[in-house]
Amino acid sequence: MLTEKIREIAKKLLEEGKIEAFLCYEGTSHPFRNRAVLVKSPEEVKKLLWPSFGVINLATPLQKLKGQKAGILATGCVSRAIVVLIQEGQLKREDLFVVGVPCPGMLDPSKVRDKAPEIIDVIDDLKDEVLIVTPEDKIKFSREELLRNNCQECRHPVPPLYDLLLDFSGREKSPDPYRRVQEIEDLTLEERWQWFEREVLRRCFRCYACRQACPLCYCPTCFVDDSRPQWVGKTRDLIDTALYHLVRAYHLAGRCVDCGSCEAACPMDIPLRLLTKKLEKEALLAFSFEAGLDPEAPLLFTSFDENDPEDFMLTSELKASGKI
C-alpha cells in the first residue's frame, strides 16, 4: 500500500517530466538494511519502496543534485532537514518536488540485529507489529520496541514542507520527546561526566561517520580538520574527542532536526543524539525555537530577543545575591 503509493507518484512525476530524477529508498540483499536510490526513468520506479530501515537522511545525497529538478520522498525529519538547508542556502525550493509522507517511524537495524542470531526477513506492518523471520520461525514484536530512538522521540512525524502529501496516517507526536535527555540530566555532575566518558569518549575512534551522515554538516573543511590552528587533536585522547563532539553538537544547535542519521551511522552505536537532543530541548524551552519548520523564519543563532535569559550569567547571580 505505502510502497505502491510511492511508486505510483514517482512514475507519474517522471513521466510528466516534472522532475528529472526521484530520490527514494530501495531494498538491499541485507534483510534489515535499506539504501538510497536515484531513479531517473519511470521504468526503474519498481525498485522504490517504503523503507522500514531508511536510516539515511535523503537530504544528505539530495545536496549532490544541485541544478537538477529532483523529486524526493520526505518523512518529517527529511522535510525539516530540507527546510534548514533551504534557510542556509544549500538547496533551492524551486529545484525540489517534495513528496511528503506522514511518517510511521522506522525500525532500528541494531535493535533488530540483537533479536535473533540469524534473520532472513523482517515484515513491518507499519502500525504496531513487526515479524522477524528466522530460519526456524517468525517472532512477533511490538513495533514500538524496535523503533529507532529518534522516531520514538519524534515531535514532527508529519513533514512541514511538501509539494504533495501522501494520504497515510503515520505516528502521533511523541508525548515525552526528552525522556532520555531527562535521564542523563537527573544524574549528578560526576555521573554525567562518567556517562559521557564511558559512552562517548572511550568508544569513539574518530571515524567521523556521524559527520558524513549528517545532512547539515556540509562544511568544505570541518573545524576538526583545520591545521592553522589545529586546536582539536586528531588523537583518540579523551579531551580531543570530547572537544570534537561538543563542538559538532554545538554547531548543530538550533539546526539539528533529530533524524538520527549520526547515531545510525556510528559503528560504535554511541548515543550521539543525546547531545543534540539536549540542545534542541534548551532551544525550545529558552527561546521557544524549533529547527526546520518554516523556511522564512530566522535561525536560532542569527536572531536574538530583548529578554533572552541571562540568569546563567555570573553578574546576574552576583546581583541577585546582592554582592554587586
Binding site: R192, Q194, R236, D240, Y250, L275, L279, L300, M313, I324
Partner: protein, 142 residues
Amino acid sequence: MSWEPRIIAFLCNWCSYAGADLAGVSRLRYPPTIRIVRVPCSSRVSPAMILDALKSGADGVLVSGCHPGDCHYLTGNLFARRRFFMLKKLLEFVGLEPERVQFAWVSASEGDVFAKVVSELTEKIKLLGPNTRFRKILGGKI
C-alpha cells in the same frame, strides 16, 4: 605553595576591558589569578577559544562584554548571549562544573563590579580545585 587558580578572561575592548582599567585607576584590589585577553567584542569569542582555554589548562574561563544596549557594535553581545547560553547548557550536560565557564556583563564605569566578579570567581574555583577533567595532558589518558 598553595595552588592558585588560573582564569582566562576574554574582555570586550569597549566596556569590560575599560571596566578592568577603571578598577586599576580606582586602585581596587582583586586576586592576580586572571589573565586578560582583549577582544573587540564579546561576540568575537567562539566556543573554540573557550574550550581551548580549558584544554590548555585554565581552571576557569570568563567572557565579559557590554550590558545589552551598550555594545559598541550594537547587537554583538545580544547574539553572544544566546551562544553562551547554549554552550553552557551543553557543557553542564556532559558534566563540566558550571562555575568553570562564566559569562558576565561589565560596563566601562563598573570598575568595582569587575573587581568583585574576579574575586567571587576566584573563590568559586578555589572551592572546585584545579581543572583536571578538561585539561589535556600531553601523552594524555586514553
